[in-house]
C-alpha cells in the first residue's frame, strides 16, 4: 500500500470531500468477520454466528503524507448512519487503523493482527466512532481485550456520511514527541505494517465483533 507524498495542506486533506483525494489511488480491501473462535469471551463465541458479524466486507483506503502529517481516507458502504447511542440496545459505526507500536518486535515476529498484538509486540490503534463527534482516540493493545485509550491523542478525524457511504479522514503528525503519548512513530521513507477495522453499529458490532482486513499490509511512505 503506497502512502503518496503530496504538497496539499493539512486543512485540504482533512476534508473528506476535497478534490485532492481524487488524485490518490484507493486500495480496495476485502474485509472479513473477526474469527469467533479467538474472541476473549465464551459468551461471545456461543451467542454469535460468524456469518452474521463483520457486516462491512469491503473498505477503500487512500494514504498520503505531506512531509509533516500523514493522512488516511477510509470509505465504506453503510446504508444506515448510526451516530448516537440513545438506548441501551444501540451501537454506533466505527473504524480503526492498526499499526505495530514498535518498528521491530522483540524476537522479530510481527504482532498477530487477529489478536490485537501481544505482550512482546504491542499494537497502536487510531480509533474513530461516529458518536465521538470527530474526537478520535489513540489506543494501545497487547493482546485480545487489552485495549487502553491513552490520555492524549494527536490523531484528528473528519467524517462525512452521504448516499449510503461513510468517509473518514484520519490525520496525525508523522512524528509525535515520545513523552506526550504512547503511539507509533512514522517518517517519510519508512514502511510499516498496517491493518484496518470497521464496526457496523446497526448490526450490534462493538469490541472484537467487527470486520477487519485479515492480514497485515505493508504501508510504504514515499520519501
Amino acid at each position: 500500500m503506497q502512502c503518496t507524498r503530496v504538497t496539499a495542506s493539512r486543512e485540504q486533506l482533512l476534508d473528506p470531500l476535497t478534490p485532492e483525494w481524487s488524485r490518490i489511488a484507493a486500495e480496495p480491501l476485502k474485509m472479513a468477520a473477526t474469527p469467533l473462535a479467538n474472541q476473549p469471551s465464551e459468551y461471545i463465541k456461543a451467542s454469535r454466528d460468524e456469518k452474521q458479524i463483520g457486516k462491512v466486507r469491503s473498505l477503500d483506503v487512500q494514504a498520503a503524507h505531506n512531509g509533516s502529517d500523514i493522512f488516511f481516507r477510509l470509505t465504506w458502504e453503510d446504508a444506515t448512519q448510526d451516530v448516537q447511542i440513545t438506548d441501551t440496545t444501540m451501537f454506533t459505526d466505527g473504524c480503526g487503523i492498526l499499526i505495530p507500536l514498535h518498528a521491530t518486535a522483540v524476537g522479530g515476529a510481527d504482532p498477530p493482527i487477529d489478536e490485537m498484538g501481544s505482550k512482546d509486540a504491542p499494537v497502536n490503534a487510531w480509533f474513530w466512532r461516529a458518536d465521538f463527534k470527530d474526537v478520535p482516540r489513540n489506543t494501545i493493545a497487547h493482546g485480545l481485550g487489552s485495549t487502553q485509550f491513552t490520555e492524549r491523542c494527536a490523531v484528528r478525524t473528519k467524517s462525512a456520511w452521504g448516499a449510503g457511504t461513510w468517509t473518514v479522514v484520519f490525520t496525525r503528525p508523522l512524528a509525535v514527541p515520545d513523552q506526550q503519548e504512547e503511539t507509533v512513530q512514522l517518517a517519510a521513507g519508512a514502511s510499516v505494517k498496517i491493518g484496518f477495522a470497521v464496526w457496523e453499529g446497526s448490526n450490534g458490532e462493538r469490541a472484537g465483533v467487527k470486520s477487519f482486513s485479515k492480514e497485515w499490509r505493508e504501508l510504504v511512505l514515499d520519501a
Binding site: P35, A37, N38, Q39, P40, S41, E42, Y43, I44, K45, A46, S47, I85, T86, D87, T88, T89, D110, E115, L144, G145, S146, T147, R206, A207, G208
Partner: protein
C-alpha cells in the same frame, strides 16, 4: 509469510480459550462469600429498600432509569419486562445467548409535573402525573398477580444483583472488567476497565446490569461494599421495615445465612437452572388455602400453586414450606422453635451478622 493452516488456527484458538479460562477462574475466585436471605412471608412491597438504594447510589446523570434494588409482584413481568424470558445464564455449563433489554423494557424514568402542582398553584386543578403517556414502568403490573377470583394470588419479590458464585456477566466480558472481590465475593464492574460493550447485560439471566448512557458504562448493585468495609449493612437491608433481609457470610455457621440456607434449608436460590449460583436466597411464601366451587376452604391446595413456586425456587420448595409449617405448628402449640425465632427477628440487629455498625456513627455529617 505462510497462511497458518486450519489446524494451526484451531490449535491457537484452543490455547487462547485455555488462557481465558485461567483468567476467568482467577477473577471468579473468592475466599468468602457474602449472601442475603429474603423472607418472602414478610415482604409487603413497600419499596423502602428500592428507594434506599436509589437515593444512595443511582442519583447521578444517566442513572435516572436505574433501580439496582427492585420489588415486583409475582406472578408478573417484573423489570426489565419479561426478564425471565430474556435468556443469558448457562445451560449445560455453556453460555446461553441473551437479549439486551431496551430502556423502555426496563421502564423509563418518568418526568412529573411537580412544579405546577406543588409550586405553580395548580394543585387543585391538575393531577400529579408523568408527562407523555407511559404504557410501561419498572413496577407497572404491581398487585395484578395471577389466578382467578376467589383464588387469585400474588406475593412480592425483592431483587438485587445476586453476586453469583459463577457470574455469567464476569464470563461474558471480553475486557475482564468484572471480578469478584476475594474477601467477600461481591461482584464488581470496574468503571475504569468498562468500555460499555454490554455483553454482560446480554449474559446476565437476572438482567440486573444497567447501562449508563451518559458515562457509557455498565453499572449495577455493589452490595454497598463501601458500607460493608466499615461494618455497615447494605442500605436496602438496613432500611427494610419488614425485617426480612438477612445479611452475612455463607460460611458463618453462627450467622443467619448459613442456618437458613445450609442448615434448615428454608432459603432457596431464584431460578437456579440459570446456572450462575446466585447468592441471594428466598424463604418461599406460605399461602392460605384455596376456595372450592362451593366457597369452602380446600386445605389440600395452597393459594399460591406449588408448581409456580417450584418454577421460581426449584425442587427444594416443598420441603422448605413443610419445614416452616412444622415449626409454626410447634410454636402455635406453645413450644419453642429456633427457626421461627431466627425468622421473627425479635432483635433487629440479628439480621446483619457482623454488619451491625450504625452508618451515622462513622460517616462525617455533610454541611
Amino acid at each position: 509469510m505462510a497462511e497458518p493452516s486450519e489446524a494451526d488456527k484451531a490449535q491457537r484458538a484452543k490455547q487462547l480459550a485455555s488462557e481465558l479460562k485461567s483468567q476467568k477462574a482467577m477473577l471468579k475466585h473468592a475466599n468468602r462469600q457474602l449472601a442475603m436471605v429474603f423472607d418472602l412471608n414478610k415482604c409487603l412491597g413497600c419499596q423502602t429498600c428500592v428507594v434506599a438504594c436509589k437515593t444512595l447510589w443511582t442519583r447521578d446523570e444517566g442513572m435516572e432509569y436505574m433501580w439496582w434494588a427492585t420489588v415486583n409482584t409475582q406472578p408478573g413481568k417484573g423489570t426489565p419486562r419479561d426478564w425471565e424470558k430474556l435468556g443469558g445464564g448457562f445451560r449445560d455449563e455453556e453460555p446461553r445467548a441473551g437479549t439486551l433489554p431496551s430502556k423502555r423494557e426496563f421502564g423509563e424514568a418518568w418526568e412529573f409535573n411537580y412544579d405546577e402542582v406543588f409550586f405553580g398553584g395548580k394543585g387543585n386543578s391538575v393531577h400529579l402525573q408523568p408527562s407523555g403517556d407511559p404504557d410501561w414502568g419498572p413496577n407497572w403490573d404491581e398487585d395484578q398477580g395471577g389466578g382467578q377470583y376467589p383464588n387469585s394470588f400474588y406475593f412480592y419479590l425483592p431483587r438485587i444483583c445476586n453476586h453469583c458464585t459463577n457470574p455469567a456477566c464476569l464470563e461474558a466480558c471480553p475486557r475482564n472488567a468484572i471480578y469478584k472481590r476475594e474477601e467477600d465475593g461481591i461482584v464488581v464492574l470496574s468503571q475504569e476497565r468498562c468500555k460499555g460493550y454490554r455483553f454482560c447485560m446480554e449474559a446476565c439471566p437476572y438482567k440486573k446490569i444497567y447501562f449508563n448512557l451518559v458515562a457509557q458504562k455498565g453499572q449495577k448493585c455493589i452490595f454497598c461494599y463501601p458500607r460493608i468495609e466499615k461494618g455497615v449493612a447494605p442500605a436496602c437491608a438496613r432500611q427494610c421495615p419488614g425485617r426480612l433481609r438477612f445479611v452475612g457470610f455463607l460460611d458463618d455457621e453462627s450467622g443467619p445465612i448459613h442456618k437458613l440456607v445450609k442448615q434448615w434449608k428454608v432459603a432457596l436460590p431464584l431460578h437456579s437452572e440459570f446456572g450462575t449460583q446466585p447468592n441471594i436466597y428466598y424463604v418461599p411464601p406460605i399461602s392460605p388455602p384455596r376456595f372450592d366451587a362451593e366457597g369452602n376452604l380446600d386445605e389440600s391446595k395452597p393459594r399460591i400453586p406449588t408448581d409456580y413456586l417450584r418454577y421460581l425456587f426449584g425442587d427444594g420448595v416443598e420441603a422448605a414450606l413443610a419445614t416452616l409449617k412444622t415449626e409454626m405448628a410447634k410454636t402455635k402449640a406453645g413450644g419453642k422453635s429456633e427457626l421461627l425465632d431466627l425468622l421473627i427477628v425479635y432483635e433487629w440487629k440479628s439480621l446483619f451478622g457482623p454488619f451491625t455498625q450504625d452508618p451515622a456513627a462513622i460517616a462525617p455529617r455533610r454541611a
